[in-house]
């Protein structure tokens, strides 16, 4: 037998009270000399043995009452058959963990997995006694406790259950046992049962890792654990990507996006229509003839921008069993025009080549929306830079501290800076500079110029294995020999800052060619080489114009163009301290979440710690301000909806003590078999109260204690007391 509140057993020391009362009351038989004996009626005689018996009976009843009440409060419970003679009720504390990841929205045509899971929960709830503690937790990326130790009330529970629905999150299975263990430990019950109702996705349960198995075993030691699978077919298509590949995000231009569709099923799928919508209006559609099982296919979607401003773009498919992952979203910040200023310190070819790469047009025509200007280094503008979006510093020997601060402020406001090395660059002067707020303007400190040519005087090529960076994305589609022909003879030795990351490097080494770091709301790119032919031949290959135009597109974009994944944080950055103390995030379901603005790394941010829905959020600096859409997509890791069979589950979980209840009948039978825990507190409480009542009746009615109190005189007689 165990006690749910064992500390209360210390209350058994209270048995000393009735014993003390007995010892005191034993003195109540008092003796007195008496003269008027002839007037005393001898009809009421009390014998000593009678007194002792009465006192012992009272003592016994009081002690028993105290003991029984203490036992009741300590909540005795047993799982053992050895004490089956003890009266009690079969009670259990139940924790129901319901998988609410978006794979549970997968439908077999009749009902979704989540709806079938709800039915299984209803079967479980039929075995719960009213008053038993019940917890309901929705599993996902972050597990949400809906009910915590609620005294079970069928109608209330059914009402709460019917309000639940699956979220757009993936399931974080590894953290499930620990979360459930916390809930188990927080529950007081003679027997604790945990029911995990899930679709047992193969990528989660099929590879049950050792730590997970160990955690489940630990949970099994704390409670009886039942795994209730609601499996379904693994057929599913998902749009797993939608990326800007090329093109400028300017009014009147066309950008190319690439949509990727993955077939997670075991059967090939043919004729998949991929539609592209801009602000909800379909503007393009492509058909993928066939997607083999387990494969991805991509289509290019061309998006014309007729208007400036933030633009919502989606790629979607239809006719699928799981709709949540059938759409992918992106946001494009379309500008009216883009202005680039090139500050040329080379007084020669480098600046010219850079200008040429930016002005390169297939038709050779001038683009009104894309203005590129060049000034010589000594004419570095000192006035307002508000009309400029990107500044390129090409082989600039040095700048003043004021100019550094001006550039830093320029970048922090959301603009871009591209820095090129060159023969004229004075490394020590640049290293002495610090940007506004003390942080460095460039992503690395400069060193000496080093030779990267080999013995034959041929430089090293670019590393073809590039990161999946927006800047690199168009280069990945270039023929490999074109990349390998781009040779670098010299480069500037640099020491990257902690906040910077590598975008391009030389093949066969990790020597950086292009570095990036963020500064406020903008970005700074740093070439460790020059555009001049004495440093490399990059400017003479198609790589350079593609790279430069992609960099400008990237820099003129906005931070929220990068789509987020459900569960990611959403951050709104401010260059200056805003007037409003709160920012507002509107969720896709049209709920407004207010987030306070706080100071962060020399700037101001409003951070929504977790996005919980898939769709377009809208971030606003205040309630009245216009919004900036943010695309939030589902994590397609969850799109692989193939499930593990019950047999495979049992094998996988062998030794963990977890019972797999595959069918409704199995579930009911398993519950009945496992539920042996009985609670006896009610019995002890009733027995204790009964003894109190009997003692009270005995003392008051038989001994006339009430009348004694009523008739008690205030002045006690001076008499001898006897035992």
């Amino acid at each position: 037998m165990t006690f749910l509140n064992p500390l209360l057993l210390l209350g058994a020391l209270g048995i000393g009270l009735p014993i003390l009362a007995h010892l005191i009351n034993r003195q109540q038989v008092k003796r007195t000399d008496w003269a008027a004996m002839q007037f005393l009626s001898r009809s009421v005689r009390v014998r000593s043995r009678q007194l002792r018996l009465r006192d012992l009976l009272l003592l016994l009843m009081r002690c028993l009452a105290v003991l029984l009440l203490v036992l009741a409060l300590a909540r005795p419970a047993t799982n053992s058959a050895d004490v089956s003679w003890l009266p009690g009720e079969e009670r259990a504390g139940v924790i129901i963990a319901l998988d609410a990841s978006f794979s549970m929205q997968h439908s077999d045509g009749k009902a979704t997995r989540f709806e079938r899971a709800i039915e299984q929960v209803r079967i479980i709830s039929e075995h719960i006694q009213p008053g038993d503690p019940v917890s309901l937790v929705l599993l996902g990326g972050e597990h949400r406790v809906v009910l915590r130790n609620m005294a079970y009330e069928p109608n209330r529970f059914a009402e709460v259950l019917s309000e639940q629905q699956a979220a757009a999150e993936p399931l974080d299975l590894d953290s499930v046992p620990k979360r459930l263990e916390t809930l188990v430990q927080d529950m007081d019950a003679p027997q604790k049962e945990v029911y995990i109702v899930t679709d047992t996705q193969a990528h989660d349960w099929g590879r049950a890792s050792s730590p997970l198995q160990e955690a489940l075993r630990g949970l099994g030691q704390e409670a009886s654990v039942f795994l209730v699978p609601v499996a379904g077919s693994g057929e599913n298509l998902a749009v797993t990507g939608m990326d800007l590949v090329s093109g400028a995000l300017r009014k009147g231009s066309i950008a190319r996006y690439r949509a990727t569709v993955h077939n997670y099923g075991k059967r090939p799928v043919s004729g998949v229509d991929v539609r592209c919508r801009v602000e909800g209006v379909q503007i393009d559609s492509k058909q993928i003839p066939l997607i083999p099982p387990g494969s991805s296919e991509t289509v290019s979607l061309f998006v014309p921008f007729y208007n400036s401003g933030p633009t919502r773009i989606t790629a979607d498919i239809s006719g699928d069993a799981l709709a949540t992952d059938n759409v992918r979203r992106a946001v494009a910040e379309v500008r009216d025009r883009v202005s680039v200023l090139c500050v040329d310190g080379s007084m020669g070819d480098a600046g010219r080549l850079i200008m040429s790469s930016l002005r390169a047009r297939t038709d050779g025509a001038e683009d009104e929306g894309f203005v590129v200007r060049s000034v010589q280094w000594p004419d570095f503008p000192t006035g307002d830079l508000g009309q400029i979006d990107v500044i390129i510093l090409a082989d600039v020997p040095e700048i003043t501290q004021e100019q550094a601060s001006q550039l830093s402020r320029f970048v922090r406001q959301g603009n871009g800076l591209v820095w090129f090395a060159g023969d004229n660059v004075k490394a020590s002067k640049w290293n002495e500079l610090s940007g506004e707020g003390g942080s460095a303007l460039l992503p690395a400190s400069l060193g000496a110029v080093v030779d990267t040519s080999d013995n034959w005087g041929v430089g090293k090529p670019l590393d073809p294995d590039m990161p999946d960076h927006t800047v690199c994305r168009p280069l990945q589609s270039l023929p490999e020999d074109l990349l390998s022909e781009t040779r670098f003879l010299k480069r500037l030795q640099v020491e990257p800052a902690d906040t910077s990351f590598l975008v391009m490097n030389l093949a066969g080494s990790h020597l950086p060619i292009l570095l990036e770091h963020s500064l406020g709301r903008g970005h700074v790119f740093m070439f460790t080489t020059s555009a001049h032919s004495t440093w490399n031949n990059m400017a003479q290959t198609p790589v350079f114009p593609m790279l430069m135009q992609q960099i400008v597109t990237y820099l003129t974009g906005r931070e929220f163009e990068q789509p987020r994944i459900v569960g990611d944080s959403l951050m709104l950055s401010y260059a200056e301290q805003p007037d409003a103390i709160d920012a507002v995030f509107d969720t896709p379901s049209k709920q407004a979440i207010t987030v306070p603005v706080r100071e962060y790394r020399n700037g101001y941010v409003a951070l929504l710690e977790k996005s919980r829905e898939a769709g377009f959020y809208v971030a606003r600096v205040s309630v009245q301000a216009p919004g900036m859409p943010i695309a939030v997509n589902v994590n397609t890791h969850e799109s692989d909806v193939a499930c593990v069979t019950a047999t495979a589950l049992r094998e996988s979980l062998d030794g963990t003590g977890i019972t797999v209840s595959a069918t409704a009948a199995d579930l009911s039978a398993d519950i009945n078999t496992a539920r042996t825990g009985r609670s006896s507190w009610r019995f002890f409480m009733l027995a204790g109260l009964a003894f109190l009542v009997i003692e009270s009746l005995f003392a008051d009615r038989i001994l006339g204690r009430n009348r004694l109190r009523r008739d008690q005189r205030s002045r006690p007689p001076q008499h001898e007391e006897v035992a």
């Binding site: 109540q28 038989v29 008092k30 003796r31 007195t32 000399d33 008496w34 003269a35 008027a36 004996m37 002839q38 007037f39 005393l40 009626s41 001898r42 009809s43 009421v44 005689r45 009390v46 014998r47 000593s48 007194l51 001994l703 006339g704 009348r707 004694l708 008739d711 008690q712 005189r713 002045r715 007689p717 001076q718 008499h719 006897v722």
Partner: protein, 309 residues
């Protein structure tokens, strides 16, 4: 009593017990009863004039010397030479039952103070006081005399007695009656816890001998009210079998029996022209005496002395 003298500070019996000196006790009690507030109820008749005293309110009008008034325009009362023509005999019951005390003062001690105070009053009037102490037999008999030493004799006589249960009150009263030579005022101070007929027989004997009998029925308040609660064992002082009982359950019966007994006793006394007074030992002695004197004085001139409570 307190409605008669509501403002008076009385002498608590326990305070008197602490005084120790019985003569002092008697003086404190009696002198505390203001002169002139009432006539002495035990005063006898005397014809030999002694002297005058200025009249004070409360003195009987018949004692005013009108001739002196005619000469001086002042009221004087005539006081007579104390001629010992009157004996007072105090009969004190010293049996075991008189030792009962619910408080600190037993009935016997109260009786002692009562006797001393009465003796003091009588001696102050220059009458004679005699004393008898009895329990199962007559232990002490002092013939009446008019010396203050009788008060000390009371104390000594009671101190020397080893109380024994009384057997028959009538027998003791008979024996004492035989010892008394002259008609006297006989004051019986006793709890009278005996058979009513036996008591009345003894008292009647005294009456038949021509004595003026006063019964001061001395009882403890617990005997009058029986306020016990809980479980009690009662040990009989007169050798009765002890009884363990719940007093609150027998209280009604007790009070009924006791009141019957008191009623019978009082009726018997009235019938025998015996002055009967119940004395509650919880009451201040001087208050009790004051009330007793007042009531006795108010009925002194009457044809007979009735029992009163």
């Amino acid at each position: 009593m307190s409605e008669n003298l509501p403002e008076t500070n009385y002498l608590d019996p326990e305070l008197l017990q602490r005084l120790g000196d019985l003569e002092l006790v008697a003086r404190e009690v009696v002198e505390g009863i203001r002169v002139g507030s009432h006539r002495s109820p035990l005063r006898g008749l005397s014809t030999e004039f002694a002297h005058h005293r200025q009249y004070v309110p409360g003195d009987a009008l018949r004692t005013i010397d009108w001739r002196v008034y005619g000469r001086t325009d002042r009221y004087y009362t005539k006081l007579y030479e104390a001629e010992t023509n009157f004996d007072c005999h105090l009969l004190i019951d010293a049996s075991s039952s008189m030792n009962y005390a619910s408080g600190k003062v037993s009935k016997l001690e109260y009786a002692k103070f009562l006797a001393a105070s009465l003796a003091y009053v009588v001696l102050k009037q220059r009458d004679s006081v005699g004393l008898s102490v009895f329990d199962s037999e007559v232990r002490t008999y002092l013939p009446p005399r008019s010396a203050m030493g009788i008060i000390l004799e009371i104390d000594r006589a009671l101190r020397d007695i080893k109380p024994t249960p009384k057997t028959s009150l009538a027998k003791q009263l008979h024996d004492i009656a035989l010892m008394m030579k002259r008609r006297s005022i006989v004051v019986v101070i006793s709890d009278l816890l005996s058979d009513v007929d036996d008591i009345l027989a003894g008292l009647d004997h005294l009456r038949f001998d021509g004595h003026n009998v006063i019964v001061l029925h001395t009882l403890d308040p617990y005997e009058l009210e029986f306020p016990f609660g809980g479980t009690w064992r009662f040990e009989g002082l007169e050798g009765e079998e002890s009884l363990t009982t719940h007093p609150e359950r027998i209280r009604d019966d007790y009070l009924a029996n006791f009141n019957d007994y008191l009623g019978n006793l009082r009726a018997g006394c009235v019938a025998a022209h015996i002055d009967y007074t119940t004395v509650d030992t919880s009451r201040p002695l001087d208050a009790m005496l004051s009330e007793f004197f007042f009531q006795r004085q108010s009925t002194l001139a009457g044809p007979s002395i009735g029992a009163r409570r």
